[in-house]
């Protein structure tokens, strides 16, 4: 996955993501595609979650998946999850769950709970940083005011080295793939460098849905695992999603 939260020159926040999923799950030699990735594409849906006839939050998800990986609470915050691979991975959490240690939250369910119940960027940030999880993850959170954007790197029990937008230091965007931001990405899977190159070329005054979609359409940020692209603008309550394809030649991940 690749998630980006960026602030334009007017202090408006734009949040976008590519959802990549299905690595090593059945390579279709004929069509040069991942089988699970292709099967997920017809399941991509935008959902307006409503209570008392009012929107509580909006999300892009997969039909049949009750948790959330991408969503936005209009006028409050936007949120995406990127997978964080670790030897202390989710299977340990699941084993603990089976052994009746059930004080941790399932990742997708925590995202859904935060989208449903948190009322501000600060509250969302606190819940995502402090709640014990079954699996490690990266939460990318955007707000509604200048400077409100952060990457929360989660181990199962703690938050590691949070990184925030900082305009004074020239950090007008945050770009997260599937690697800790303080380490170099795996050389075989470097989507961070080309993604940042395109963001740097775009320049802060030009950031918009249009230019962020361009960044998320550039290979290998766009790759064979990319299922959908979502763009969100919290201040306008706007969420757009598109099912993607990566024509050959294209990286398998």
């Amino acid at each position: 996955c690749t998630s980006v939260v960026a602030e334009d020159s007017n202090g408006n926040l734009i949040h976008g993501r590519n959802l990549d999923f299905g690595l090593f799950m059945g390579w279709d030699m004929k069509n040069k595609s991942w089988q699970i990735t292709e099967q997920l594409k017809p399941l991509v849906v935008n959902i307006d979650f409503r209570r008392s006839n009012h929107t509580v939050f909006k999300s892009t998800g997969f039909a049949g998946y009750a948790g959330m990986l991408t969503g936005m609470k209009p006028h409050s915050f936007s949120l995406t999850i990127n997978e964080r691979f670790s030897m202390d991975g989710g299977y340990i959490g699941i084993i603990e769950w089976l052994l009746h240690h059930r004080d941790a939250m399932w990742m997708g369910f925590l995202t859904r709970t935060v989208l449903e119940n948190a009322t501000s960027y600060e509250e969302a940030r606190s819940l995502l940083s402090q709640t014990k999880l079954l699996a490690p993850a990266y939460y990318i959170l955007g707000g509604n005011q200048t400077g409100q954007g952060c990457i929360i790197t989660r181990a199962r029990t703690e938050s590691l080295k949070p990184l925030e937008l900082n305009l004074k230091q020239g950090r007008w965007y945050l770009l997260q793939t599937n690697y800790d931001h303080w380490k170099a990405p795996l050389f075989l899977d470097d989507r961070r460098t080309p993604g940042m190159k395109c963001m740097n070329q775009t320049l802060q005054p030009n950031i918009s849905f249009k230019t962020l979609y361009d960044v998320l359409s550039t290979k290998p940020v766009l790759n064979k695992l990319t299922t959908y692209t979502t763009l969100m603008e919290v201040s306008k309550g706007k969420l757009e999603s598109f099912v993607r394809d990566c024509p050959n030649p294209c990286m398998p991940w």
């Binding site: 089988q35 307006d48 409503r50 049949g64 769950w97 598109f242």
Partner: protein
């Protein structure tokens, strides 16, 4: 670049989405949180039941390739429904509602919902 990692110059003019990298727009649905959890996903799942059945079939085929005896899917169908009862409300009820509306066995719906946790390794 025609050798891996197939990097390219930063794209421009891709929006509004069109062309070979755009496979289609995403449809909007409404989930009413005032409904009982078991009913929230019914309309969406009855519309998408064929797509989810296709996806589950591919997962089963991949599982069968790893464990040809079919024991892995037996495990999913017998053990994972028990996990659903341990999930917090309203997710336990929602998963049962999704299984019921789609006609997909509860264990396989549970597997789909646990995918992300499992694959972090």
């Amino acid at each position: 670049q025609y050798v891996p990692p197939y990097t390219e110059e930063c794209r421009t003019g891709m929006y509004p989405p069109q062309g070979p990298t755009f496979k289609g727009a995403v449809t909007w649905y409404t989930v009413d949180l005032d409904l009982p959890p078991s009913k929230r996903w019914s309309a969406l799942m009855s519309e998408k039941k064929d797509d989810i059945a296709n996806m589950i079939k591919v997962i089963k085929d991949i599982a069968d390739a790893f464990v040809p005896s079919g024991k892995l899917i037996d495990f999913v169908d017998k053990v994972l429904p028990l996990i659903v009862d341990t999930l917090p409300y309203p997710y336990d009820e929602e998963l049962k509602g999704i299984a019921s509306a789609s006609g997909v066995p509860l264990g396989e719906i549970a597997l789909f919902n646990l995918f992300y946790e499992v694959f972090t390794v």
